[in-house]
């Protein structure tokens, strides 16, 4: 086992970097972090649109959310693989292709979190803000969003966990992330497949379990704060 880790540890950690693109566990984290960060601005707009009282905007955002939540991520990755090069007229590395797909996919899920965050605020907040003379956007930016976003932190963390897990499918188009590393090691080693995949599974296990636990702690903290129990 020690031997195995000494030989292949580096491939697991960073893939073929520095001789190639950053891969392995680091690649997974990078892809997930960029995916979520990239999806956030879109999700913010879509989530706000979902709570809009202007029907066409509400309809369009609802269709977006329902569509991308009903299609498997692989399908979206295939679409990106096919469409993105056509749209910008040049070859795109697999990492960017997967990133585009993940941003679109996660934007739908994040939008629902943001909508839920906005809708969970007491109506009195909006009424009070409007009563003191704030406009729609002023209310949104200085009253609703700051409160909603801080309440959303645990959900966002959970979504980050989902994103980390979702990125593992990107190896199918050749993105060099953790699952790709495992596949690579497998084709060198040929035996001991179970060991290779268990190491891969353990990596995800510890990372995601840790983040989920953190989300739970934060959630409890926020709940206490809302109830006025926190110091």
């Amino acid at each position: 086992m020690i031997d195995f880790l000494q030989t292949y540890g580096l491939i697991f950690l960073v893939g073929s970097w520095p001789n190639g693109p950053l891969g392995g566990f680091a690649g997974t984290l990078l892809l997930a972090a960029l995916g979520l960060a990239g999806a956030f601005p879109f999700a913010l707009l879509i989530g706000i649109a979902r709570t809009s009282s202007y029907q066409p905007i509400k309809m369009a955002s609802t269709v977006w959310v329902y569509t991308f939540r009903s299609i498997p991520l692989i399908m979206i990755i295939f679409w990106a693989y096919f469409l993105v090069p056509v749209l910008i007229g040049m070859e795109v590395p697999p990492f960017s292709t997967a990133l585009c797909a993940i941003i679109v996919y996660e934007s739908a899920f994040l939008a629902e979190i943001i909508r839920a965050g906005l809708e969970s605020l007491p109506k009195g907040q909006i009424e009070a803000a409007r009563a003191v003379g704030l406009g729609y956007f002023q209310t949104l930016l200085s009253v609703q969003l700051p409160q909603a976003l801080s309440n959303m932190i645990p959900s966002l963390l959970n979504q980050f966990v989902s994103t980390i897990k979702a990125t593992s499918i990107a190896y199918i188009i050749g993105v060099q992330e953790a699952a790709f590393s495992a596949q690579q090691i497998n084709s060198i080693e040929l035996t001991g497949t179970l060991r290779t995949y268990l190491i891969l599974a353990l990596f995800y296990f510890f990372l995601c379990a840790l983040l989920s636990r953190l989300a739970r702690v934060l959630e409890r903290h926020l709940q206490n704060k809302r109830l006025g129990l926190a110091a």
Partner: protein
């Protein structure tokens, strides 16, 4: 080809749903055993399946597990459709952990007074569970279970990584053969979309038929 893809996808979905739900009920029953070891094993089982990506679970089963499975079982699986069987096992176990959590939080939502009331009118522990707690708990669990089933439906597409001939796999194959990428992608996306919405609609109907609270 597309039709076989849809058929395999649906078979995988329904199979994993039924097996997963049965497994979740079994876990819920096992969790009643007042033994620390049993509970720790169940907790580990749930945590593993919730924190490891579904694709990785499928890969572990398909590539890794044959090394340690008993020979007889392996031969038995290899007799049928190996890829399908391993995908079914992986997806069932995966979804069972989520169903189990949903049922458990449903049981938790039922107030302890319900059990006390049931016991005080003379029902045994098992009877109280079967006639009072579970019927209510399952109702609480309906919305999250439907949600999870939809995710399971989308997750069946992951079975393509080990070569199960479900919809996504067939789409890729047709695309490679005909190069009519756009058409085939549109068709398959619409199929996924319609089936997902159908499942969601059925789920919403079920949630209405079995509301969590009888007062509504």
């Amino acid at each position: 080809m597309l039709a076989t893809g849809v058929a395999v996808t649906l078979r995988l979905f329904v199979g994993a749903l039924v097996c997963g739900f049965a497994m979740a009920l079994l876990l819920s029953a096992l969790n009643l055993i007042p033994s620390r070891i049993v509970r720790a094993v169940i907790a580990l089982y749930v945590e593993y399946h919730r924190n490891v990506p579904t694709v990785v679970q499928i890969l572990v089963w398909y590539f890794g597990m044959p090394e340690v499975l008993p020979r007889a079982l392996r031969l038995w699986i290899n007799q049928g459709n190996t890829e399908f069987s391993f995908a079914l096992i992986a997806l069932s176990l995966n979804v069972s952990a989520y169903y189990y959590e949903d049922i458990r939080s449903g049981i938790k939502a039922i107030a302890g007074t319900q059990v006390e009331a049931a016991r005080s009118v003379g029902l045994g522990a098992m009877q109280a569970l079967l006639y009072v707690v579970l019927p209510q708990a399952v109702r609480y669990a309906v919305p999250p279970i439907i949600n999870r089933s939809l995710i399971l439906f989308k997750d069946t597409s992951l079975a393509m990584v080990i070569g199960v001939t479900e919809l996504t796999y067939q789409v890729k194959k047709i695309e490679n053969a005909t190069f009519q990428t756009f058409q085939i992608f549109i068709i398959s996306t619409l199929i996924y979309l319609c089936l997902s919405l159908l499942i969601a609609t059925l789920g919403a109907q079920m949630a209405r038929r079995y509301p969590a609270s009888f007062r509504r």
